[in-house]
Amino acid sequence: MRVFTAVIAIAIGILVLLGYFLPQAELIQTILLNWAVILVGVAALVGLVNLLVVHTDKVRRGEKGSIYSALLVLVMAITFFAGAVLRPEHAAMQVVLNGIILPVEAALMGLLTVSLLYAAIRLLRRRADVMGIVFILTAAVLFFGSVTLPFGEIPIIGTLVRPWVSQVLALGGARGILIGVALGTLATGLRVLFGMDPSVWG
């Protein structure tokens, strides 16, 4: 079975990869990626069913916090059935989107303000080395350089230092990180495609 799954993965991977470089292989790449989108959709639904099963079990066993699980199951079932009957773009479903999902996401993002500030203070306390100081100093310069104060921009920092740091210094580091990530992804992808990573085949 393991050999068979490895052969499937390698064959599909090579066919999809060929589509990037050979125009003749584009059609087969499109068909395979269409199938992959369908399978990803079904896999996501299976994941959601698993979430439902886990929380239903918690409610059935009466575990601590099962009232929250019951709430989750109830809201999930109502939202899914309403969405399946009415379609996601229906006005009633937009109430769920604009009344619950988006405000909660934005408020959670807003809470990050406190968490990030706390993390920055902890970083300065625990790791006051060169990298930590450069990190905090850059963040402070860029942040205060980009805010609009009652008297306008902070001279020099807002007009000269901030653009140079963000568009030259930070760009150099970002490019190095991105190229490093791409090289790492290439190496891992090739290992998977050539069957050199047995952990992937489960």
Binding site: I12, T138, G176
Partner: protein, 236 residues
Amino acid sequence: MAVNLDLISGVLSFLFTILILSYLIGDNPLFRIAVYVFVGAASGYVASVIFWQVLKPRLFDTLISAVLRGSLVEQVLIFLPLIGAALVILKIFPGMTGFARLSMAFLVGAGAAVTLGGALLGTLLPQVQATINIFDPQAAAARNIGAMEVLGNGMVILVGTVTSLAYFHFGAQPKTDGSVRRFGLIEIIAWIGRIFIGITLGAVFAGVYAAALTALIERFSSLVNFIVLLRTTLGF
């Protein structure tokens, strides 16, 4: 009807913002209620989007059309993902998860190829090309930037790129005293790279913090606006 839905949306938005921001005084049942409702609503919404925007058009509609008036090739082409989807669904049943491996192998292969193509064509080549283009005098002249400025900034970016990459070089040899250290020159280059990475992460942190602060201000603003609207509507 539309006005009522807007009002419901506004009330829910107000309520859930308050519940989430209550976390500022510590973890509490109100915050948990909001988070669990959010997870339930988001997962139900996502499930309905997957059904209507992925499975229906790509699987069910194509299947019906292929069965009714498609050729044999079209019918085979649509039945294969249907079988794959059925195998993925078997993952729900504990004794039959082995069958799902076939579909998972398909996804791993396709995913690895897409990731490889994306990393090569979407990141590696464009980033290398962009680093080369910094030194292009014609492009700089078109943007009214002097040659010396281009050269200076280009050199800093190039040094930042190379030294940041060198920071991730972890090849090392054991010394006679048993310690393991990188080659001296790499160590110096990596130290400079560390500074560049610190600057980059600081810039990312500032960006994320600014976005989080904007979101917080927007939420407070929406709370105030809702109260003002409610006062105006109810006339008190």
